[in-house]
C-alpha cells in the first residue's frame, strides 16, 4: 500500500491535464476564435468581436462545465457499480441502467402524445425529465440487483443488461409509432447524447444532481472498500449490508439517471474510465479512486466532445459515436484478458 501522499504528483498531473483538456474544449467549435482572444476573454476583458464574448460565456463554458459533470459523474457511477456487483464489466450503459433512464425519458418526451393526444411539448420540463430518467434507472438497478443476488455469473448479468436494452428499444418503438414527428425527432436527438445546448438553469440543476451523487459516494468510501472483500466479509467487519447497498444504489441511480436525463444515454464512459484509471493509479482504495475516476472521466468527456465538434467545421458528430469508439475497445480488451477478470 502506498500512502495517500504518494499519489500527490499523479493528482497534480491529472489536474493539469484537466485544465488543458478544458481549454482545448473551449477553444474549439464551429466559430474559430484565436487562442489569445479566448484567453483574454477568460481573464475578464472583452474581445473585439462581440459575438465571441457571447459564444464563450454562454455556450462554450457551460458546455465544458457540463462535460466535466457528465464525464465525472458517469464514471463514478460505473465505479460504484463495479464494486457493488463485484463485476469488472458493470457500468450504467452495459447493465441497462441508461436504458431504464431512456425509457423514462421516452415516456416523458413521447408518451404524453399517446395519453393526451397532443404534442407533449407543453408538459416537458427539466425536472420531470430528471425525475423520470432517475426513476427509470432505479427500476432497472433494483431488478439487476435482485438478479445479481441469484445469479453469480458475470456474463449472465451482462446479458440481462442487453435484454433491458432490447426491452427499452421495443417500448420506445411502440411509443414512436404513435407519437408525432416532432416528438420523435426530439427523442432521437436526445438519444444521440450531447453536452451542449443546456440552459444555465439546467446546468445548475445538473450540478446539484451530480453533487448529491458525489456526496453519497464519498460517504460510502469505507463501505465500498469493505465490499472489495465480498459481502460476508464486509458484514463481519460491521458493515450493515442493506443500508450500505441502498445508499450506493441511490447514489448510482441519481448519477446515472440524472445525467442521462440532461445529456442523453452516453455509452461506455462509466464502464471504461474506472479501468483506465486503475491502469495509472494502481490501487483499489476508493479514497484514491473516487477523486481520480472523477478527474479522468471529466478529461475523457472533454476530449470526446472536442473531437465531436470536428474542429474547424460547422458539423457536430453525435457524442455517443465518439465515446463508443473509445469505450468499446476497452470492453473487448477486458474480455480478452478475461483470465484475470480483475477489478
Amino acid at each position: 500500500m502506498h500512502s495517500l501522499k504518494s499519489y500527490r504528483i499523479s493528482f497534480a498531473l491529472i489536474s493539469l491535464a484537466l485544465c488543458f483538456a478544458w481549454l482545448l474544449n473551449i477553444s474549439s467549435g464551429s466559430v474559430q476564435i484565436p487562442f489569445d482572444a479566448l484567453l483574454s476573454v477568460l481573464l475578464g476583458s472583452t474581445a473585439e468581436i462581440d459575438s465571441w464574448n457571447y459564444i464563450i460565456w454562454n455556450y462554450r463554458i457551460p458546455k465544458a462545465f457540463t462535460a466535466v459533470l457528465v464525464g465525472g459523474g458517469l464514471s463514478i457511477s460505473g465505479l460504484l457499480m463495479q464494486t457493488l456487483f463485484r463485476n469488472p464489466l458493470a457500468g450504467p450503459f452495459v447493465l441497462g441502467i441508461s436504458s431504464g433512464a431512456s425509457l423514462g425519458a421516452a415516456l416523458i418526451l413521447m408518451g404524453a402524445t399517446l395519453i393526451a393526444g397532443v404534442s407533449s411539448f407543453t408538459f416537458i420540463n427539466d425536472i420531470s425529465m430528471a425525475v423520470a430518467a432517475s426513476l427509470g434507472s432505479f427500476l432497472v438497478l433494483m431488478v439487476v440487483m435482485l438478479v445479481a443476488n441469484r445469479v453469480k455469473d458475470t456474463m449472465a448479468l451482462l446479458i440481462i443488461g442487453l435484454m433491458f436494452g432490447s426491452i427499452t428499444a421495443a417500448l420506445v418503438s411502440v411509443l414512436a409509432y404513435f407519437s408525432s414527428a416532432e416528438d420523435l425527432q426530439r427523442y432521437i436527438f436526445w438519444s444521440f447524447g450531447s453536452v451542449g445546448n443546456l440552459s444555465g438553469q439546467q446546468v445548475m440543476l445538473l450540478s446539484g444532481v451530480v453533487l448529491l451523487g458525489l456526496l453519497l459516494s464519498v460517504l460510502s468510501i469505507k463501505k465500498l472498500n469493505a465490499f472489495l472483500l465480498g459481502e460476508n466479509y464486509a458484514q463481519s467487519l460491521g458493515v450493515s449490508l442493506k443500508k450500505s447497498r441502498l445508499i450506493i444504489i441511490i447514489a448510482t441511480g441519481i448519477l446515472a439517471g440524472g445525467i442521462t436525463a440532461f445529456a442523453g444515454p452516453i455509452a461506455f464512459i462509466g464502464l471504461a474510465v474506472p479501468h483506465l484509471t486503475r491502469q495509472i493509479f494502481d490501487t483499489m482504495e476508493h479514497r484514491v479512486l473516487i477523486p481520480a475516476v472523477f478527474l479522468y472521466g471529466s478529461i475523457l468527456m472533454l476530449l470526446c466532445d472536442t473531437i465531436a465538434q470536428l474542429p474547424n467545421s460547422a458539423n457536430v458528430l453525435p457524442i455517443n459515436a465518439i465515446t463508443s469508439l473509445v469505450g468499446a475497445p476497452v470492453v473487448i480488451w477486458l474480455l480478452v484478458r478475461k483470465r484475470k477478470m480483475l477489478f
Binding site: I221, N225, Y233, Q235, L237, G238, S240
Partner: protein, 259 residues
C-alpha cells in the same frame, strides 16, 4: 457470571440449519480463551452451518450462544466486528488488492468514517504481516499469491481485526501437507501467544489431534467435545466413519484404510 466470563464462547442446546431444515442439533460446548479448537465431522453434518451461525452470518434455530458472557444476538453487527472475525472459504471479491491493503481492511471496525489508519492500526497491520510471514509479500497483489500464501493473508486479516474470537471455515483445504501444518501451527501460536479463542472446521483429523487443544466432533448424536486424548480414550473417533472402510488407530492417532 464469573463462570461464564471464564469461557470465551458458550453454546447450549443449539440447533442450527435453515428455515425448514435442521442441519445439526444438540450442540453443547464451552471454550476457554487461548484455546485452539477444531470442529470435525463427515461432509454435510453441519460444520460450516455451525460456524456461520456462531458468527451470526445466519440465524440460529434455537438454543443459546454466549460470547464472553453476552448473548450473541444482543450484539449489533458493529459491536460484533470487534468481538469475532472470520476466515471464510470464499475468495475475496477483488484479488487486485495488495496483501497489505487487504490486511489493513481488518482494521475497519476501529477506523474513522473514511477509514484512516492511525499509528496503532498500522502497528497491528505490521504485527499481522510478520506473524504470518508476509513481510516480503506486502506489496504483491492477491492474484499473484499461491493458495497457501492467500490463506495466510486472510488469516492475518482476521488477526489484524484483533478480536478475542476467530472463526475459520476449512482453512487448510486445497493446501499440501507442508502448508496445512504451517497454517495450523501459526493458528496454534496465535491462540496461545495472544490468548485468542480460535475455532476452525477441518477434515484433517490426524493433524487436529496433534495440534488442537480441544476437538468438537459433530457426529449427529452426542456431538462430544474434549481434548484429543480424552476423545481417543473414549473411542469417539472410531465411530466417525463407517468402520468397513477406515479404522482409527488409537496408538498413532490416525486413520488406516482397511485392505
Amino acid at each position: 457470571m464469573s463462570e461464564l466470563k471464564k469461557h470465551s464462547i458458550t453454546v447450549k442446546n443449539l440447533i442450527v440449519g435453515y428455515k425448514n431444515k435442521t442441519v445439526a442439533d444438540n450442540i453443547n460446548f464451552a471454550i476457554e480463551p487461548g484455546q485452539l479448537c477444531g470442529i470435525v465431522g463427515v461432509n454435510g453434518i453441519g460444520k460450516s452451518t455451525l460456524l456461520r451461525t456462531l458468527g451470526k452470518l445466519q440465524p440460529k434455530l434455537s438454543g443459546e450462544i454466549a460470547i464472553e458472557g453476552k448473548a450473541l444476538e444482543l450484539n449489533s453487527s458493529f459491536e460484533l466486528a470487534k468481538i469475532l472475525s472470520f476466515v471464510l472459504t470464499e475468495q475475496p471479491a477483488s484479488k487486485n488488492l495488495t496483501v497489505q491493503e487487504l490486511i489493513a481492511l481488518g482494521r475497519q471496525p476501529y477506523t474513522n468514517w473514511i477509514g484512516t489508519l492511525t499509528k496503532e492500526d498500522k502497528q497491528q497491520v505490521e504485527e499481522s504481516l510478520s506473524s504470518f510471514l508476509l513481510k516480503d509479500l506486502r506489496n504483491n497483489k492477491c492474484h499473484e499469491l499461491s493458495d497457501g500464501q492467500l490463506q495466510r493473508v486472510l488469516i492475518a486479516r482476521a488477526m489484524a481485526q484483533d478480536t478475542p474470537l476467530i472463526l475459520l471455515d476449512e482453512p487448510t483445504t486445497h493446501l499440501d501437507l507442508y502448508h496445512k501444518v504451517q497454517i495450523l501451527k501459526l493458528l496454534q501460536q496465535l491462540a496461545h501467544a495472544k490468548k485468542k479463542t480460535i475455532l476452525f472446521t477441518t477434515h484433517e483429523i490426524d493433524l487436529a489431534i496433534q495440534l488442537c487443544d480441544k476437538i468438537l466432533i459433530l457426529d449427529g448424536r452426542a456431538n462430544p467435545i474434549g481434548t484429543p486424548k480424552e476423545l481417543i480414550e473414549q473411542n469417539y473417533f472410531d465411530q466417525l466413519f463407517p468402520s468397513e472402510m477406515v479404522q482409527f488407530d488409537a496408538k498413532t492417532g490416525s486413520f488406516k484404510v482397511n485392505k
